[in-house]
Symmetry: C2
Subunit: 279 residues, 2 copies
């Protein structure tokens, strides 16, 4: 199949590597000449250009730009492609994207490959990035079923774990397990940094080990990523934060009132429930 990719970063580049090795012809578009050259040199695309016209003839196009540029990318793409072309995106929030793009293009299927590394850019693209990881599709009632079927048939050989759900259910679920942890973890680092006694800070830094390392990891990561979650999944992130604060207040209350039995029950419920969130 002839597949287009707009945005040749970590996700777009890694998709290109996998799709080409499965025998597809992959055409890439990036804003930057330099990225186009690297994509071809690394084998992530057969051809690459800065002009969306390159994708005129493709059957399926992955929109892999930053979320902020997805809508305008699709608008600019439309004059070049045929009505049969299937569009899909890889944005990590879905409701806002689907609401913006679905009215512009009938054959659009929202998607979210849940894979990544700490690196970004075409240089970080790698074979097999998606294998074993969830890939969520968020069609709506009006999404043509043959568009979904075709996209799934392209994705399945990447050995992803395909999920289908409403865009809103996706955004709520990722708020819980991806976006809320970032805010919770960011608040932890910010709280530690607000300790006024420099000797205590120094000691805390010297004594910090795996517990702090793990709990602070996602809150000390890429600032753009955290910002993007808050911005584009704002309502669900806020909702999860308010529920979180209630739970936090409950734990504060139990400790304050020395309700050790209730506190122990919470810890026991957590210990029992956590494995269900692990693969």
């Amino acid at each position: 199949m002839k597949i287009g990719i707009v945005g040749l970063g970590l996700i777009g580049g890694s998709l290109g590597l996998d799709l080409r090795s499965l025998g597809h012809q992959v055409l890439g578009v990036s804003r930057q000449e330099r990225t186009c050259k690297i994509a071809v040199a690394r084998g992530a695309t057969d051809e690459a250009a800065t002009d969306l016209a390159l994708l005129a003839d493709t059957d399926l196009i992955f929109i892999c730009t930053p979320i902020a540029h997805m809508r305008s990318t699709v608008s600019q793409l439309i004059p070049h492609i045929s009505l049969e072309t299937i569009l899909t995106d890889v944005g990590s929030v879905k409701a806002s994207i689907v609401q913006e793009i679905a009215p512009l293009w009938r054959n659009f299927v929202g998607g979210h490959p849940m894979a990544g590394t700490t690196e970004s850019g075409i240089e970080a693209a790698q074979h097999g990035l998606f294998a074993g990881n969830p890939y969520v599709l968020t069609p709506t009632e009006t999404t043509p079923s043959d568009a979904i079927a075709l996209l799934e048939s392209i994705l399945r050989p990447l050995q992803v774990r395909l999920h289908r759900c409403q865009p809103e259910a996706h955004d709520r679920a990722v708020a819980w397990i991806s976006h809320l942890p970032v805010m919770v973890s960011a608040s932890l680092i910010a709280a530690c940094l607000s300790e006024a006694d420099p000797d205590v800070i120094k000691l805390a830094q010297a004594l910090a080990s795996s517990g702090f390392r793990d709990t602070s990891r996602v809150g000390g990561g890429n600032p753009e990523l955290g910002l993007m979650m808050a911005r584009y999944n704002r309502a669900e992130v806020l909702r999860s934060l308010l529920v979180y604060r209630e739970q936090l207040d409950r734990i504060i209350h139990e400790i304050d009132h020395e309700n050790w039995t209730t506190l122990e029950e919470t810890f026991q419920q957590n210990q029992a429930a956590r494995p269900k969130f692990m693969k």
Copy 2:
């Protein structure tokens, strides 16, 4: 040297293994016959008994019981030992323990080896558990300096990173980097479990990956450990939780008011500061 260990669990047993391999004679006391037998069989102690009288002749005794039993253990030990015997404990909070035990025994040095595994008990004891990890001593103004010096000379060959500080500074520092992360992480799991839509919960469980895994790890661990932190370091844990809640409220406010620049600055400060807490 002739060294006693009361409480032959993970910490006591591991200390015994290391100290014996450094040529010390190690005598152990446990409440349970069975534990005594395993300790000797595993080479964690030269001898072991359920009677504290076994330690009559020792130069240094590690109190490795649960925190709740430390005070009574010392009281029961005192009739058996000479005034020169140095006592030290391995409790993970220090101010309350030091306040309780220092008045009972002049040659007492509070201590906290910051090492562990997910396992517990004599079966989990291992050689080299402490190597490379912090070992905090919390002497007070009245602690005899030769008692501190002797304890340090015994510990140094274990290749621990020795720290000395006030008991209160220890408790405040570990509240930040060990106890607060547990409460923050526990609240995260509890919040996710409060989602009312079973489909969203199922989806969240299916989509959860390394971000959730790491952020929820210490909050989904041993309930007794979390309870112990809250109980014995209550004031400092509460203090850190209240500061944490302020930071959380700040992040909620920034998202609610779409103050993206301020939010990005917080993420940037976190990203810059976190490496200082990493070894």
